[in-house]
């Protein structure tokens, strides 16, 4: 086995204890709740009078009378098979609600991450090449203004203009390709304003490197120097891309609720308001696991791309 695959294996194995710990925390979250799950279930099912016997019966049905550790083990094993139990409110299996929502959120996230990265690289390069001139200053000024704006306000303004005034785009739902335009652009505008600054400063750092000076001294055409700069700065772009996916996935809550996007964000807020713990628990676990998986993957990709990171691994 060569050095690289050993590194990949080691890095993946490191994720396992982390996953165990977060699954335990997620499990314990439920117990910290001031409300009795059995009571919530009975309330949700519309049982008119909750007696002590009924509570005890429900607890046994939910497996609440067993020791904590046994419950955790059982819960873990069934979670590994994507069986997160049933929703307290609707009684349907959690995964049948969470799975489609996860896919919808993922679609939105990946498309947004791609547009974020394209826009960030484009703007970052333009700003770095025109550093200090009016193009750079005005782009940075606009980005500064947009990052100070709550994204839901931006979304509301866009909906008001494009959907209500012009009636071009749908205001909510996920019916057609057009429904992607507004949510994706809101997410792109909010995040590209942050990430393009990273691309820009990485380009500017590379501009001061010796190889650029050497290339210029040799009289290379400026376009070829720029191409080399680009190749070296793209590494930052890759790490931003993988960093952006989990962050966007975790924070589409506001956007999804605004556009009535049937994703994880909508589902989680709905479950919080109806106190449907089993869904909240599964939501936290699935997102945290996805977060760890993407982080591990992006570490591996970064190491593959950058020989400097390999040395100390």
């Amino acid at each position: 086995m060569n050095k690289m695959s050993r590194y990949i294996l080691r890095r993946s194995l490191l994720a396992i204890p982390l996953l165990l710990v977060i699954s335990f925390i997620t499990f314990v979250l439920n117990i910290l709740s001031p409300m009795d799950p059995a009571e919530v279930v009975l309330h949700a099912q519309g049982v008119p009078q909750i007696t002590e016997d009924l509570l005890a019966e429900t607890r046994t049905a939910l497996g609440m009378d067993q020791p904590l550790f046994i419950r955790y083990l059982n819960w873990m094993l069934s979670c590994l098979q994507l069986d997160f139990g049933n929703s307290y409110v609707t009684g349907k299996p959690v995964w049948s609600m969470l799975g489609p929502a996860f896919l919808n959120s993922l679609k939105l996230t990946v498309i947004s991450a791609v547009t974020v990265i394209v826009l960030s690289i484009g703007l970052g390069i333009i700003c770095a090449l025109t550093e200090g001139r009016w193009v750079d200053k005005s782009i940075r000024g606009i980005a500064f203004f947009l990052t100070s704006m709550p994204s839901y306000l931006l979304a509301a303004l866009l909906v008001w203009y494009f959907s209500v005034k012009l009636d071009w785009l749908p205001t909510n739902g996920i019916d057609s390709v057009q429904s992607y335009i507004l949510p994706v652009s809101v997410i792109t505008i909010s995040y590209a304003g942050i990430y393009f600054r990273i691309v820009r400063s990485s380009m500017l750092n590379h501009l001061n490197e010796d190889y650029v000076l050497y290339g210029r001294a040799c009289g290379l055409p400026e376009i070829r120097i720029t191409m080399r700069l680009l190749r070296n700065s793209l590494q930052v772009a890759v790490s931003i891309f993988f960093m952006a996916i989990p962050i966007i996935l975790g924070s589409t809550v506001v956007i999804e609720n605004l556009f009535a996007w049937p994703g994880l964000g909508m589902l989680s807020v709905k479950s919080i308001l109806s106190r449907d713990f089993s869904i909240i628990q599964a939501y936290v676990l699935v997102l945290a696991a996805a977060f760890i998986a993407v982080n591990t993957f992006s570490d591996v990709i970064n190491t593959l791309l950058n020989p400097k990171l390999r040395e100390d691994s």
């Binding site: 704006m149 509301a156 750092n205 952006a244 919080i272 106190r275």
Partner: protein, 296 residues
Amino acid sequence: MNRIHYLFKDRLALFSFLLITTTLLVGIFAPWVAPNDPQEVHMNLRFASVSWKYLLGNDHLGRCVLSRLIYGIRPSVLWVLITLAISVGIGAVVGFVAGYFKEKTDAFLMRICDIMFSFPGYVMTLAIIGVLGVGIENILLAFVLIKWAWFARIIRTSVIQHSNAEYVKFSKALGTSSFKIMRMHILPVTLPDIIVTSSSSFSSMVLQISGFSFLGLGVQAPHAEWGMMLNEARQVMFSRPEVMLAPGITTIIFVSAVNFFTDALQIALDPKLTPIGREHRKGLKQRANLHRGEVA
């Protein structure tokens, strides 16, 4: 003092600072500053436009928009500031202990931070609201639980850099107590880093809190909060889009002021304007920007 003088030479920074302090003062003294009762309903004044008694007009229940904005400073800004202070405090203690004692203590504390990092910020907040119930105090609690790890990580890096300095080794050799070394020798040099990182996450926290209130998970009616006012305005967005203006513009101006001030602070607090100092600051700034990564 020299640095503060340098900071306020920047007109924009001075202006932002004045704006932020005025906002804080107005928020603290809200009952004396607000022209009307923010919860007083006048059904005959629904969506009334600007008048002398109601300087910014009235909302969908005829309540005074200006008074609601002023009372909204408390949850939107003041409580966020307190939350930030608590999380920076915890982060600083952990960061100092980890960075100063190194080795096993450091490894242990950093593993805990790693665990905290594996929950995306929004998800952890939603989980805590889900368990403890809707309300701004639970959101603030969630923020403290998440953010301390961030501050601990950044402060630790800064402490490690300085704890290897010659003067620290010298003090250790003299037998000065660890606490005194941290207080006398390490705290003053890491303070700029702490201020820069904490101030740069202030604006994102303000936006996130207002985002949660916008979703109806934070401040509950009838109390006023900027995000919630925007949410109320959204219900009538199609018929009266102008209701969004007051809370929207207030949020944008305040957050911009915080961002401007943070940027100016970063430049002003540069310890030595040497290339090395600048490089270090640049890395820090990049990290701070990444931290800003989660937007509302």
